[in-house]
Structure formats: structure tokens, C-alpha cells
């Protein structure tokens, strides 16, 4: 359950390529002073290295970067999983990239990013699963819930393709099911 005094160490957000407009909407409307690092894992073309971070940066009011391996999470920054790498979070709050096998036909895999955040940050992680066309991410966000983190799943009614959120909702009951505007308002109301 949501504890309004809880401060989160990281927000991890996953979605497929189609979630670009949702993520863009959130990053355009978020408080420019928003301190909690946001880690984004979006399905993307493996052989196209550039374009996504630039596209998100156009509207985002906080910096969006594609991190190098071993980068430390810093406040007021969005970290986008690079193409053709999995992104894991380590116990010390650093990012570990990997070229291991694709998972759920995906590299980066949302399940991997969310599960590693659940293990590393336990109840100090806020997980958000957005619109998407496969089930990648469903198990990962459930792991966040299992580790007492806070979970939000995008309302399937607000999704272009709802396979991903519906897969999650079949596995567990998240703390909240919200549309993109409500997710944005929720984030802006978080204690920093």
C-alpha cells in the first residue's frame, strides 16, 4: 500500500515501443525539480542505436540519458536502457548492462530491469508498467510487488495495445491502475 511518507530511491518504468507517447507525455509534464531517478526500459529496435533518447529529450523537462555500464543513478535524471543491451540495477545503485540472451524476445527486457530493481531496492522502488504488445514486464512488476515495492499498471482502457498491462493484471493486483495523466499527477505528488 502507498505510504505518503515513503521516499523512493528509484522509479522503474517499462513499456513497448508504442509507449513512447505516454512516456513523452509524462516527461513533458513532470516537475522539473523531480529528484527521484527514473529508469526507463522500452522495447526498441536492436540495430538502431540513436533517436529514442533524442526523441524523448525533445519534450522532457528533465535530462534523459542512455547510461554507460557502471553509471551511478543520480537525482533529476532519466536513464533509458540502450538498444541491444539489458539494463540491471545493482545493490550499490549503479547500472549494469548486459548482452546476455534476449528474454521474452527482447533485449532490453523489461522483466530483467524490473526484477533487478525489486531485488536491489525492495520497498524503495516504484514500478510502472505501461502499454505494450507482449507479456514482458508482467513478471518483473509482480516481483516489485512481492518485495513490497509500490506498483502502478497503466489502465488497459487507456492503452493502444493492452497485452502487457493485462498480462500483469492476470498475475497480481497492483497498488494502482491509472491512465497516463493520472500517473503523471501521482508522480508530481510524490515527496522528494
Amino acid at each position: 500500500m502507498y505510504n505518503q511518507d515513503q521516499t523512493y530511491k528509484v522509479i522503474v518504468m517499462g513499456g513497448s515501443a508504442g509507449s513512447f507517447s505516454v512516456v513523452s507525455h509524462i516527461l513533458a509534464g513532470i516537475n522539473p525539480e523531480f529528484k527521484i531517478p527514473i529508469v526507463l526500459c522500452l522495447h526498441r529496435l536492436k540495430h538502431v542505436r540513436s533517436g529514442l533518447v533524442e526523441g524523448l529529450s525533445l519534450k522532457s523537462v528533465i535530462p534523459v540519458v542512455e547510461p554507460n555500464d557502471k553509471a551511478k543513478l543520480r537525482p533529476n535524471t532519466v536513464y533509458l536502457a540502450p538498444s541491444n543491451y539489458h539494463l540491471f540495477l545493482e545493490l550499490d545503485g549503479s547500472i549494469a548492462l548486459s548482452t546476455e540472451e534476449s528474454f521474452n524476445h527482447s533485449r532490453p527486457s523489461i522483466d530483467y530491469t524490473l526484477s533487478s530493481a525489486a531485488y536491489a531496492f525492495r520497498d524503495r522502488v516504484l514500478g510502472i508498467l505501461l502499454t505494450g504488445a507482449n507479456k514482458d514486464g508482467a513478471r518483473g512488476i509482480k516481483e516489485i510487488a512481492d518485495n513490497k515495492g509500490f506498483t502502478i499498471v497503466q489502465d488497459p482502457k487507456s492503452c493502444d495495445i493492452d497485452t502487457m498491462p493485462r498480462s500483469a493484471l492476470q498475475l497480481f493486483q497492483p497498488d494502482l491502475v491509472l491512465d497516463p495523466q493520472q500517473i503523471l499527477e501521482f508522480l508530481n505528488a510524490l515527496p522528494q
Binding site: H47, N68, D69, K70, P82, E101, R107
Partner: protein
Amino acid sequence: MADFPDMDYSDYAFAFLKRRLSMICKQLHIRRKEQFIEYLSKSAFRDDVKTLMNVETTEMFRDPAFWRHLRDQVMPKLPEDCQTLWLPHEASGEEAFSLAIILHEAGLSDKYKILCNNTSLKNCENIAAGRINPGHNDINQTNYKRLEDKENYESYFEVGNNSLTVSQQIRNLVQCRHEAFHSQENSKENIGLILFRNISIYYNRKLTDNTFRLLVEKLMPGGFIAIGVKEELPSFLQEELITIDKNEKIFQKPSRIRNFNHV
């Protein structure tokens, strides 16, 4: 594990070790820690573990822009007396064979030797036999086309039922040594190029620093080292090496030692 030769993973990144060992136990049907420890006394089991600890290169010609830069900007500038192009930790042969094809097409296959190392006997045997993951064939071909814009790809492979084998001509250019690169004595090999892409991402900071120090020591003056596009050189080497391409992460060891204390 560290008590056995080439099995000291204590300086690998924690998250990697955790998931990799968990995957290995699942794949080798190990249910208890005690069972794992007991099996470690068998050399075949140890080789299986070493094989599975290796992360395969995801595909041949991964990052075509890197290979294009290597071919066009680096190969023509290799030191005059360079003899060896070295891949210190080659899991699947895909990087080595990519390099071999580049050399072959540039007409340089007689000039340099491609040397790679792996601690797994199984991996070395696969590389010697030119066996490539057939599941990577489509992406290999796409990458090659993006790199070369030629139709030669198929001429380098023999495609079988669920198998993909590099042609004899290309695999003859690659020599795989079954030993850890740390222990290898190759000071007389005149190493002019080291490819170490996406390997240190599985290491912790200490092992990363020590490894890069060792590799740069083994590189001849004027030689080049390439790392993964999302890896970073340790800070102490960022000043020591010349950045050739910051996007493709290619660096050069100066021909003469730079003295940074003397301005």
C-alpha cells in the same frame, strides 16, 4: 569455485553472478549448493560451468558502424610491425570471425594473425570448428549488409540442418587458445589491435581497472583497443590513451609514452 583453475569469478559484478549461476544451476539440473560443490571436482562439469559463464556475442558484426570504422580508419593505421590482432576473451567466435572476414575482404589475411582466448574447452573447440549459433544467421546477415552493402555473406558459411559453420578459409585465420588471457605470455606477439567489447560489463570496478591496465600493457605502442559502445575506460587510462572514436569507443596507445606530469 575460485579454488579451481580459471574459475575465480569473485570480482565479477554481483547481479551478473547471481543470475548467471542461477541459470547454470537450472540448465545443469543442480538443485542444491552441496550438489554444485560436489560436481566441481569433475573436470567435465567445470568446463560446462565455464562454458555457460561465457556470454555469447549476440551476433556477428554487432554495431556495424564500429566495424566500418575499424575497417576504414583503424586497419590502415595499424603499427608497421604489428603481427597479432587479439580478442582476449572470445566466447562464441562471432567477433573473431567478423574480424577475419574484414581482414579477408581487405586482402590483409596473410599479414596478421587473429588470436583469441577462452577458458572453456568446449568454446575453443566450437571456434576451431567454426560453429556459430544458427539462430543468429538472420541478424548476422542484416549486420553484414549494413556494413558492406555486398551480397558476399553466404559465401562465408556452410548452412546445415540447424547448424551454421564458418568456411574453412575464414576459420583458418583464427587461432583460439584454451587459457585465460591473464596468464598468457604474449609480449613477443606484437599485438596491434585488441577487441574487448562488452566483456568488462560483467566485471566489478576493481577487475575492470586491473584488466584494462593489463591489456594496455600488452598492446604495442601505436596499437588500438576497442571496447563496447556502452563501456567506459577507467579514468586513469582516459588520459593515457588517445581517443580515436568516442562513439565507437576506439582508443590508441601513443607511439611514445606521454608524460602527463611534465607540462
